[in-house]
Amino acid sequence: MPLSKIQTTNNQVIPNLGRRNIIINGAMQISQRIGTTATAITGGNYGIDRWGMYYDGNSYTTQQVTDAPAGLYNSMKLTVTGTTTPNYSFFGQRIEGLNVNHIGLGTANCQSFTVSFYVKSSVAGVYSISMTNGAGDLAYPVQYTINSVNTWERKSMTIPPITSGTWVKDSTNGLYLRFNMGSPSSRTADADGWRSGNFDGANGSTGGVSWATTSGATFYMTGCQIEVGSVATPFEHESSFGEQLALCQRYLYTIPPTSGQYVLNGWSHSGTVFITIIEFPLTMRATPSLAVGDISQFDVYTSGAGTANRTATGIGLNGMGPVGGGINVSCPSNLTAGFSGGVYNSNSPSYIRFDAEL
């Protein structure tokens, strides 16, 4: 019996069972970097997991909130904090080529795909998104309209196949979804067609431009989904919080700030250097960068040594890879080479973060 006849509910064939959504953290559940704090993200960096913020000239904060349409719990809230016309302004998600190869981008077998999301804004009007390739030389801009202010609305748009162009197939940027939040006309193009160039959205996105220059304006988005085909199916809830966290940890792994806990273990290499080894929960997309919240909150404790001068003064990579590797913790003195021990987050909670984002 064909599988299509088995996958039925109330005698209806249910197509495309299994994980459909190509977007990671589309329900805005995971926020390892900023938690629930409204944060002014430096342009080119990330707020809520997997969602990069790109703007220059204007400014806004990003926040994970619990304002969401029925069936969802979290959303991403942007709040404009200035009135300057931006040089560019968008946010989006870069998707690994490995995760979109089944679409067949750039081949004769390319399929259409559909983008859907819930949105709410204090400024109604015409907005737009753009789908681009990693090279930034092909874009498909699409408009959408927010009809009513401060009201959740679901939007969807189908992107037709593209059989040409350069589309990477590896762990780099294979497909890029951008939400245009007021980029000028130099960075937009005519809607509803594959265009040559690097465009954040569609021409005529007057609502987005107005939003970007209205201090205090808000924009919420959640339930974002990209799926193969020409139909926007209901937002996929098949993956649990834990599964979404795991998907995000391929791009960002954080040892969460928790005072009063050991966070790493290892051994003293010398009187001033303690070597630790970490193994990530899953293979990261690339060898990650390391950042630490407040290094002075970490102490090294070993057997056979005194207690003074063991507060960390530096924490850095040493032989790291996508699966894990070494981390050196430097101390002023008082370690004994060869003695084992651990790194302890002492007084105030402080994170150790590994970033392999696109």
């Binding site: 960096n45 960068s289 630490v292 850095g316 990579l317 040493n318 032989g319 050196n328």
Partner: protein, 58 residues
């Protein structure tokens, strides 16, 4: 990304360049020499600008 400084750090075991200690967006970061790492790519672009140099390791 706003990069203020960058300096190679040697692997403590092999004594060859292993990563770059950099100040990026006001935060100290340890950046691997991986061409797929976005911070490393940004540092290489930054180093192409006159006056910017990745310091040699100690």
């Amino acid at each position: 990304m706003n990069i203020k400084s960058a300096k190679y750090i040697k692997n403590i075991i092999t004594n060859v360049n292993d990563n770059i200690k950099a100040i990026i967006d006001e935060q100290e970061m340890s950046v691997p020499l991986d061409p797929a790492n976005r911070h490393y790519v940004a540092i290489l672009e930054w180093a192409k600008i006159d006056g910017n140099t990745i310091e040699e390791a100690d």
